[in-house]
Structure formats: C-alpha cells, structure tokens
C-alpha cells in the first residue's frame, strides 16, 4: 500500500492538536481545527480544547451548534473552545480530563459517569465515548479543512499516528486505539508522547541534532503539560557508525501540570485580595486564574520586571466601577511557581504517597504531592532499578553506578508549555546538577515545544511509511503478568498471595509472537474465564514464563482479563480445554493476548476489561 500522507494526532488531556505531513512534498504543518466559538459561531484554532459540554435543551436557540460537516441529526454535545469557556461557569455540564478517566484503574471507562458527580437530567457520557467524540471531531475537521483548501484525502491513504502518555498501561492504550477505531480511523499506530517530542526535536534541529548528542548520552524527556507530567529516558549508543536510540524507561501516570501552577498563583492572589478586604466570586476567580497565568508568562519572559499588574474585571456591565486591581510580584511568583513546584530537594526525597489514606474519594487520582522535583527523583530512582534488572539494559547504559541511587541523565529535552519559561528550565537543570555532584546536565537546544507532540507524531508516521529517518527502539514499555491463585490450605485471617506469571517481557518488539511453554490452563467451553492482570515498569529482566511469588507486593494491577470460550466444534460444551498463553505484539505495536489450544492451532482472544471496585 502506498501512503500519501501521515497524520499526527496529539489527543491531549487539556488540548488536542493535529499535524499533517504531505508525503509528496515532505512538508509538515499543523492543521487548524474548525470548532464552535459561540452559539452560531464557528472558527479555526490551532488546538481543540479537550472539553465537552452537555447543554440544557432550553439553554441555546435550536441548531446553534451546527458544524460545517454536520449532517443535520448531529450530536447534542459541544466540543472545543466554547465548551471549555462556557462550561467553566456551568461545571455540572462540563467534561474535562476524559483522557485521565480513560487511564483510571478504579472506574469503568465505558460507564456513563461524566460529568463526574453531576446531577443533570440529560444522558451522561463515558470517558471512552468522550475520547471518541474528540477524535471524530478531529477527523471530520481535518477532512473539512483540507477540502476547503482544495485537497481531498482518503483516510485509507494515510498513516495515522496517535500519541498516548508513556505512562499509559496496556488497558488505557487499548481503549485509546479502540476509540480511534470507533471514530473512523483505521490501523492507527500509538506513539508515546515523550518519544513524539524527541522526533519533533530531531526534525526541527535538522542534521544539527546529531552534534548535540552522542554515544553514552542518556536523554531525559521531561514533558509537563497542562494537567499531566510524563517522563522518559532515551539511551544513545553507536553501532557501525550510526547512532542508535532506545527508550529505556517510562514514568508513572502523574496528574500534575501547568494548570496546578496557575491555580496556586490564583489562590495566593485571592488570599491577598481577601486580606485587603475584597472578596471575589467564582467567575472572577476564573478570570484571576487567567490573569495570573498571563502575568506569570510576562514575568518569566522579562527578567527586568519586578511585578506584573493584574486586573480582575467586574462581573456586571460596569467595568470601571467594578474592576479589581492588584499585582503579581516576582518574589511571589518565584516562591509559588519555582520553590513550590521545583524546589531543590534531594534525590532521596520522594513524593508522599496518598495511597495509605484509607478511605479515598473515588475520582481522578490527582498527585497528592505537588512537588515536581520529588516526582522526578522517584522516576530516576525507579529507572535505575529497571535498568539494573536486565543485563541488556545494564550494558546499554554502561553499567550505572548504583551507589548514587538514581540513573543520572546527561541531557534534557523539555516539552510542554510550562517550559517556555526559561527560569523553570534553569531550575530543573540546577536540580539535576545538584543530584549529580554539581556536574552540569545539558539542555537540548533548538526546540519549539508548541504543538511539538502532534508534529513529532506526524514525522514518525512519515519515517515509518517511507523507511527514512530515525526510529527510537522502544517495544513494550512494561512487562505484563497474569495472576495465578496459589493453591494452599485455607487459613483464617490469611489471604494466600497471588503469584504472577510473566507473559510479556519489557521491550517485546513490534511484530513478535511468543507462546508461554510449561504453563497450561484449563478453560471450559461455553464459559467466561477471568484473570487478574498486572504490570511493572521497573522489571526489565523478567522473561516470559517466569513466576513471581507475590504479584500484589511487586506489581501494579492493570485491569482484569476476560476470555470467552464459545462452544466450538470438536470441543464439547463443559469440557476443559488445555490452553497455553500466546502473546502477540502486532506490527502496529498493539499488544494482544490469546489462549492457544495446546494440541491444535485453535486460539481465543483475551479481552481487556477494566477493573472496577
């Protein structure tokens, strides 16, 4: 099949973007997304806010939200700019962070539970459908935008690359791919966001990038978006004169980002206004968050400013009578944004875990510790554990010194709006140097973080279909395990540990297929069998078929697995069929598990089912 284009989609937690590479002229550009700007108003924006609004039936005039590609009986929900802006004032009807709900292990992403904790009478929506709607909007918007420019694309002629956080486990990746399929994209390749940022950098820096990194380098990709932090390490080695890149470690899913910083600044300013005897309402607080964000950018980009003015408009129509003014001082900004989120803490200073808190409100598992420095320390500490667990990785990074307690990167690639601020980048470099006995860590230069993930994804798709350009060796980011109930005599008050059978090793590559020998299961036809499913991002040394004694202690539970054995000819109903586990990573990088009949080629697919508690 010949491809005519590559389409990179960054389905972000707070904003989505799409980039197109036309393979004929090899040019990559962001495609503006047509969206609802207001009732009866549409316009183009470079990003599509990942927000969905469910309007009340009397709230707006009929058919006020018709998109140019709507066929008439369109959806009642609104996606994008207006949804986010208006929904901020009507939070009961606004869905945001659907992506984080998709990766929430405690909630069924197909259950219609969003907006979370809302009492609206209209049908609620599931995180899965919400993601599907964003992707449908992106698909239709892309086709429409290109058509108005006189270009007709057939989606079947393109390679679509969709980015996901490196911290997404297989269940969340699977759901994302399925949402894309449901939205009308086929054979989508998933790419980890930090890798996409790296590809974007290599394409922006041109041939120059090879002079900035060399064999022996370990690059930390530090991606801080609006709502999430995502870390990865990429090791650079040399073989036969060319540079090889391998992603050696990925971080955990951390719900902490630039929005937290703006909120923290706004709370500080509100306290100041309160102390002066002025109180503001919720609407004004939203305006204050926005103003604080603007003031932050102004102060960080001009070091000579000591303070930035802040004006919070009145809610009513008398602007001059009701506008409150205050200012954001540089000292406050540094105290809140730099010392609050990026203090110079030690590398052994790890985030406080909120898990031991007993009863916990269900909802999004926001990071309970806002200190990014500590999350970074935890990531680098766990990376060392992971690298030391396998001989292959150990030799790749030159057998790291474990006495330091963490894997020290030699260079950093920053991504995400937060790092537009030079003082924040400098603080992270200072932090890494302080952990590294004062030895400086380089910043990779020539990077434009704006919309880089979408561009990098498009660029990666181009590399894949043309066979040109670089590829980061990645494979499965985690190892995966199936829980085995231990058979032992029942003892009151003692729960026997669940053993774990490794079925997918970390780094398992695209297009590979393996059968776990020596471990047979009996599946009964006509019945559904459930398995517990675990993963780990720090056990690079585990091999397929290996059994760990205690899954709950050493691994993270990912989801439940379900396999349904329909009565098949040759296998009488009710009879136990001996099967082995067959793990496949497809050419597109999707993980599939199958139960394969021991004595024939019959096999049954195992479905991921998200755990609900």
């Amino acid at each position: 099949m010949t491809h005519r284009f590559s389409l990179g989609i960054d389905l972000g937690t707070s904003n989505s973007a799409v980039a197109l590479t036309d393979l004929e002229n090899d040019e990559t550009a962001i495609v503006d997304v047509t969206q609802i700007i207001g009732p009866n108003q549409v316009g183009e924006k470079p990003t599509l806010p990942s927000a969905l609004y469910i309007p009340h039936h009397d709230e707006f005039p009929e058919n006020s939200f018709t998109l140019p590609w709507d066929d008439g009986d369109g959806k009642t929900t609104i996606v994008g700019q207006f949804a986010r802006q208006h929904g901020a004032l009507v939070p009961d009807r606004l869905v945001t962070s659907a992506k984080s709900w998709l990766s929430n292990p405690h909630m069924d992403p197909r259950k219609q539970i969003l907006p979370w904790k809302s009492d609206i009478e209209e049908d609620k929506i599931s995180a899965f459908n919400c993601s599907r709607f964003y992707l449908e909007h992106i698909k239709d918007g892309f086709l429409y935008a290109e058509r108005t420019e006189g270009r007709e694309w057939d989606l079947a002629d393109g390679q679509v690359v969709l980015t996901v956080p490196a911290s997404f486990d297989e269940a969340a990746r699977h759901l994302t791919a399925e949402a894309a399929e449901a939205a009308g994209f086929h054979d989508v390749i998933l790419l980890e966001e930090p890798q996409a940022a790296f590809y974007a950098w290599t394409s922006q820096a041109g041939a120059e990038w090879r002079s900035q990194v060399g064999p022996g380098d370990i690059v930390l990709v530090c991606d801080l978006g609006g709502g999430t932090a995502d870390f990865s390490l990429i090791a650079i080695t040399e073989s036969e004169g060319t540079l090889d890149l391998e992603r050696i470690s990925v971080g955990e899913h951390i719900l902490l980002g630039g929005d937290n910083m703006d909120l923290a600044l706004a709370y500080t300013l509100r306290a100041k206004l309160d102390a002066e005897g002025t109180s503001i309402d919720d609407w004004q607080f939203l305006a204050l968050v926005h103003a604080a964000s603007t003031a932050k950018v102004a102060l960080f980009s001009d070091e000579s400013l000591m303070a930035a003015p802040i004006a919070v408009p009145s809610r009513g129509s008398s602007l001059m009578g009701g506008t409150l003014s205050t200012q954001l001082e540089r000292s406050t900004l540094e105290q809140v944004a730099l010392d609050g989120f990026f203090p110079l803490t030690g590398v052994t200073d790890l985030p406080q875990e909120g898990r031991g808190a007993g009863l916990r409100e269900l909802g999004l598992p926001y990071a309970s510790d806002p200190v990014v420095s500590k999350h970074l320390a935890r990531f680098l500490t766990r990376s060392l554990t992971n690298v030391r667990a396998s001989e292959g990785l150990k030799s790749l990074v030159g057998d790291p010194d474990s006495s330091k307690g963490f894997l020290a990167p030699t260079a950093v690639l920053f991504n995400g709006g937060v790092f537009n601020a030079a003082p924040i980048r400098q603080r992270v470099l200072d932090l890494l140097a302080s952990w590294n006995q004062g030895r400086p860590v380089r910043e990779l230069e020539g990077f434009q973080p704006d919309l880089a993930v979408a561009k990098g994804a498009s660029f990666y798709g181009r590399n894949r279909v043309t066979g040109k350009g670089i590829r980061i060796k990645a494979g499965a980011a985690r190892s995966y395990y199936i829980g085995l109930e231990t058979s032992m005599p029942a003892v009151p008050g003692f729960k026997p540990p669940v053993k774990a059978l490794c079925v997918v090793p970390q780094g398992m590559e695209e297009g590979s297929d393996l059968v776990i020998e020596g471990q047979e299961f009996g599946l009964v036809t006509g019945q559904t069998a459930d398995f517990r499913f675990f993963s780990s991002e720090v056990r690079s040394g585990d091999t397929p078929g290996e059994i760990l004694p205690d899954a709950e202690r050493e691994l993270d539970e990912t989801s439940a697995l379900e396999v349904d054995l329909p009565p098949v000819e040759g296998f009488p109903e009710g009879q136990a069929v001996p099967v082995r586990i067959n793990a496949v990573v497809t050419e597109l990088g999707n993980l599939e598990l199958w139960m394969k009949h021991t004595n024939s080629d019959h096999r049954w697919k195992v479905e991921f089912q998200v755990r609900t508690e």
Partner: protein, 209 residues
C-alpha cells in the same frame, strides 16, 4: 461587511493606543488631559458605531480578502448576514475585552485609577482578539522620527505624504506615523441568523442557584 469589520478593528486599534497612553501613564498631571481623553473616547465610540451602522455592503464584495476566499461559508446567506457578522465581531471584542461595557459606561463618575484598571482589561482582551484574528503590522519598520525613503511605485493608499510634495518619487522625509496594515484576516464565521433581528452582543447573564 468584512471591510466594515476591518474598519472597526482600525478604530479599535486607535482606541487601544489611546488607552495605553491614559492607562499606563497615569500620573497626577494627566488630569489636565482628562477632558480631551473623554472627548476622544466618546468620539471614537461614535465613529465605531457609525462605521458599523452605516457601512452596509453586500456580502459578495468581501471575497477579495484572501483568507476568506480560501474558506467559503457553506451556509446560505441571510438578508442581514453582513450586519450579523459585524455584531459578532463586536461581541468578540466585548467578550474578550469588555469593549462595549467600557464605552457605554459614563466615564465621568470614576477616578483615573478606576479608569486605568478597566483600561488594562480592555487593552489585554482587545489586543489578544486583534492579534488572533488579524495578521497586523506596521507599514514601515523604521522608528518614528527617522528619515525614510518612499520608493517609486509605492502603494498610494499606504502612504500619506504631507508637507512639500513635488518632483518624482523616491521621496525622502521624516516618518511621523509608522502606519498599520493587515496581511490576512481570520474571523469566526456566523452560521445562521434570524431574518428579523440581529444576534446579541452579550447575552444577559442570570445565575441560577
């Protein structure tokens, strides 16, 4: 009606420039100018409204703006579509920069500090709207006051020559005002309007408990 919007934008620009001068240089002696400021604001407001109300042009004329021609509006054009589009642009300035609130208020009742604080809201919001929807730049990049040369074959609508004009271009002289121009326009489109009335600039807001 795009042309009207552009005129509105120019008027707005003049207004924001004025606001910077009154908003940012708020010093006691500015009171001396207060009368002029008020007169200017009122005059500009009037100019804006006149431009909007009387500059009715058929929609067909707007296709000469390049960015628009590339993205045709597939919706049938209602009789008052042109007016609706101007109102919609005004609504954007109101929403982002509270422009209508600012102009319709009685400025005499407030202190300079209050006017200054409100001006910051108007300036920040309208400037963002302007930059989002128009690719706007100076006609001349030189500093005002510098000596410049106006080349032969210059676009006559982009220059206003004052003083002693004689002979053939190139002319040289002192740059008094650097001028402004727009390279492209990217306005939100109004989908559908009612035939008998125009859309609201800002809806009345009612908070339900």
């Amino acid at each position: 009606m795009r042309a009207v919007s552009i005129i509105a934008a120019f008027v707005l620009l003049a207004l924001t420039t004025l606001l910077i001068s009154i908003g940012l240089n708020y010093v006691p002696q500015a009171e001396a100018y207060e009368f002029h400021v008020k007169v200017a604001i009122v005059a500009i407001a009037a100019a804006l409204l006149i431009a909007i109300l009387f500059n009715r042009r058929p929609a067909a004329e707007t296709q000469d703006v390049k960015a628009e021609a590339a993205k045709p509006v597939p919706i049938p054009v209602a009789a008052n579509q042109a007016e609706a589009e101007v109102v919609s642009f005004l609504a954007t300035l109101q929403e982002k920069g509270r422009l209508v609130d600012f102009l319709m208020d009685d400025v005499t009742a407030y202190t300079d500090a209050q006017v200054g604080a409100a001006a910051r809201v108007v300036h920040a919001g309208c400037k963002a709207a302007l930059k989002e929807h128009f690719a706007i730049r100076h006609i001349r990049d030189e500093a005002e006051g510098a000596s410049v040369s106006v080349p032969a074959g210059y676009a006559a609508d982009e220059y206003r020559l004052v003083g002693k004009i004689s002979g053939e271009p190139p002319f040289s002289g002192r740059l008094v005002h650097a001028g402004w121009k727009i390279d492209s326009v990217k306005l939100p489109r109004v989908l559908k309007t009612s035939d008998d009335r125009l859309p609201a600039i800002a809806p009345a807001e009612v908070e339900l408990k």
